[in-house]
């Protein structure tokens, strides 16, 4: 390449956040994809127990979509708590109770903050140094995932500059070489593991998500290990019938977990509404610092999420949730 004829001024760095951030390594991510993702059409259907023991490691950076109350991958989150994973770093974006739940259950010690409920357990953990929080926003977190999902080291963004979150983040303010104006860039986020609840998936991981979402596709493409839990396992012929409905392609996916009502007590739009009483119970538990009893009652008392649904929730409650969700248009391919 010819170097520019007139020697160019380098790009000035005007300010840099000093927060710790998950390491940026696009080439290392590529090597992981090459060596670990399965590009063959080999079934990867397994139980939540197997998926979590194989693909969630202590110390992993974990992202999940959307949250415990809204199409959350709750069967897998319960299994993570059951297997007592440790020292997780959470992508705490657009989420309410999940961070408190995982911190309270002793699974997480770090969180990037877009938004999550700062409950007593969070307050205490931060004060006692058992939880480190790094400051972002919902959109900055999903744009970091977008950078990770594009295989690039950073993205320019139009928000975040000027905030104190910036100071406690991995962002930088630089002079844009094209306009000469200041622009913020944020480091790509490539989580170690993403956990995503889909409406439908085939055994290879081709997944369909209906309705709205936060950053399902970005998280799936950006993460080294991807666990898809799905309300329904459908045939690959059905996937091929409407390729436009595929949200996530199989080669990004490591594990597929069949998980009907897997977002309980939250809603899975188009499939079932929430269980309002149980939603208020988890809210109450995290706000009033009663996470241990909640975990005992709802998680560790059972070997599997299905057992929880069977023994504690029961068929008629689940059918009532399904009955209450009357929206169907747009929630099928």
């Amino acid at each position: 390449m010819t170097v520019a004829p007139t020697p160019e001024r380098p790009i000035e760095i005007l300010a840099s956040g000093t927060g710790r951030y998950h390491p940026v390594d696009p080439d290392g991510f590529r090597a992981h994809i090459r060596d670990n993702k399965d590009r063959s059409l080999t079934p990867r259907l397994m139980t939540a127990k197997e998926a979590v023991s194989r693909f969630v490691a202590d110390g992993d950076y974990l992202t999940y979509e959307c949250n415990y109350l809204m199409r959350g991958p709750n069967a897998v989150i319960h299994e993570i708590i059951r297997q007592q994973k440790k020292d997780l770093w959470l992508a705490g974006k657009f989420t309410y109770v999940d961070v408190a739940l995982l911190v309270g259950a002793g699974c997480a010690t770090k969180a990037d903050c877009g938004f999550f409920l700062a409950t007593p357990v969070i307050q205490r953990a931060v004060r006692e140094g058992r939880l480190e929080v790094y400051e972002y926003s919902n959109v900055i977190m999903t744009l970091r995932l977008q950078a990770g999902a594009m295989g690039v080291p950073f993205l320019p963004v139009r928000s975040f500059g000027g905030t104190n979150g910036f100071d406690h983040s991995g962002a930088k303010l630089v002079r844009d070489p094209y306009t000469g104006d200041p622009i913020t860039i944020v480091p790509a986020l490539n989580p170690d593991v993403a956990v995503i609840h889909a409406h439908q998936a085939d055994v290879y991981g081709n997944a369909r998500i209906f309705g709205t979402g936060i950053s399902d596709v970005e998280s799936a493409l950006a993460s080294k290990k991807v666990i898809i839990s799905a309300e329904e396992i459908i045939s690959t012929d059905e996937i091929r019938r409407n390729p436009g409905a595929t949200s996530i392609p199989y080669y990004a996916v490591d594990a597929v977990v069949e998980s009907a009502f897997g977002s309980y007590p939250g809603t899975c739009p188009g499939y079932y509404g929430s269980d309002p009483a149980a939603v208020i119970e988890i809210f109450g538990a995290v706000m009033t610092d009663k996470i241990a009893p909640y975990v005992e009652k709802w998680v560790t008392a059972y070997d599997t999420f299905e057992e929880l649904l069977e023994k504690q929730v029961g068929f008629s409650k689940l059918m009532e949730m399904r009955r209450r969700e009357t929206a169907r248009e747009g929630y099928r391919a």
Partner: protein, 278 residues
């Protein structure tokens, strides 16, 4: 439209914002509480062609109200009959492109330059600091919408000289071009702050009291500001809520009173004047 004779303070704030909603403008609403209900109220009564985008990128839904508890986003009733569904990034990107006229949000603390704190009260990292939820979508709303409408309560501790932590940007240090120097889009920024008692605008990028409700005096408002804002030469007096506004709020929007009863005093008409029972 007849004046209502009994309503809560939160209801007053939502009615005040509702009257600011304009036809043909887009409103990016943070979360699902008072910002969303204020926009919906304005759309129903005053600006049927106002369009709103949910924090997570759903364009112009016709929501099925009421919502289940907490189910104000993603859930099918909240995104019902939208023109387009979306994601957090589609919303953020449309805002970066300039498609969002107004951002509507609420906060814990605001300062003289409209900077917003939703992260921490006290010194960040200090023993006694109290942590909150973080900016959520508000940072991008405050950065990228052309104008922002901020809803908060009229409390001393909420109106400060400098927020403890800038979670979402106002005019930053208040100097001309401060936002642009920080990489934020040109010509954007805070526009109004609305409380149950008052409406503020900005003069030279500094907060200015511009209107009050009939039942509180300018002095009472200033007493509830730890840092005193500028005061307009003419402090306009706001019309109280109407029966129609209150009826829609209670019967169609916030039927559980989650936002309206949540806090604040009650205002009643004693036959001669409005009285506030704190």
């Amino acid at each position: 439209m007849t004046r209502a004779e009994a309503f809560s303070e939160r209801e007053v704030a939502m009615c005040t914002v509702a009257r600011m909603i304009e036809d043909g403008r887009t409103y990016w609403a943070a979360g699902g509480g008072t910002p969303l209900y204020s926009v919906l109220l304005g759309k129903k009564l005053y600006a049927p062609d106002a369009q709103y985008i949910t924090e997570d990128g759903v364009i112009a839904p016709e929501p099925l109200l009421p919502f289940e508890p907490m189910m104000t986003m993603v859930a099918s009733r909240a995104v019902y009959r939208a023109l387009s569904w979306g994601t957090m990034n589609s919303a953020g990107i449309h805002a970066q492109l300039g498609h969002m006229d107004y951002g509507v949000l609420n906060t814990l603390q605001v300062d003289q330059h409209g900077n917003i704190n939703s992260t921490v009260l006290g010194e960040y990292g200090a023993e006694n600091a109290r942590r909150f939820g973080g900016p959520g979508g508000a940072d991008t709303i405050a950065a990228c919408c052309w104008r922002t409408i901020l809803i908060t309560d009229q409390e001393k501790r909420k109106f400060v000289r400098e927020v403890d932590f800038i979670s979402s940007p106002g005019f930053l240090d208040g100097s001309p071009g401060a936002r642009e120097r920080a990489g934020l889009p040109r010509d954007t920024g805070p526009w109004r702050v609305v409380t149950p008692w008052a409406v503020y605008d900005y003069f030279d990028r500094r907060l200015r009291l511009m209107a009050r409700v009939p039942w509180v005096t300018t002095q009472e408002i200033l007493d509830e500001c730890e840092w005193k804002p500028l005061v307009a030469d003419e402090v306009e007096v706001l019309e109280p809520p109407t029966d129609e506004e209150i009826l829609i709020l209670r019967t169609e929007l916030d039927v559980r009173g989650q936002t309206t009863d949540a806090a604040g005093a009650w205002i009643t008409w004693d036959g001669e004047k409005y009285v506030r029972a704190g």
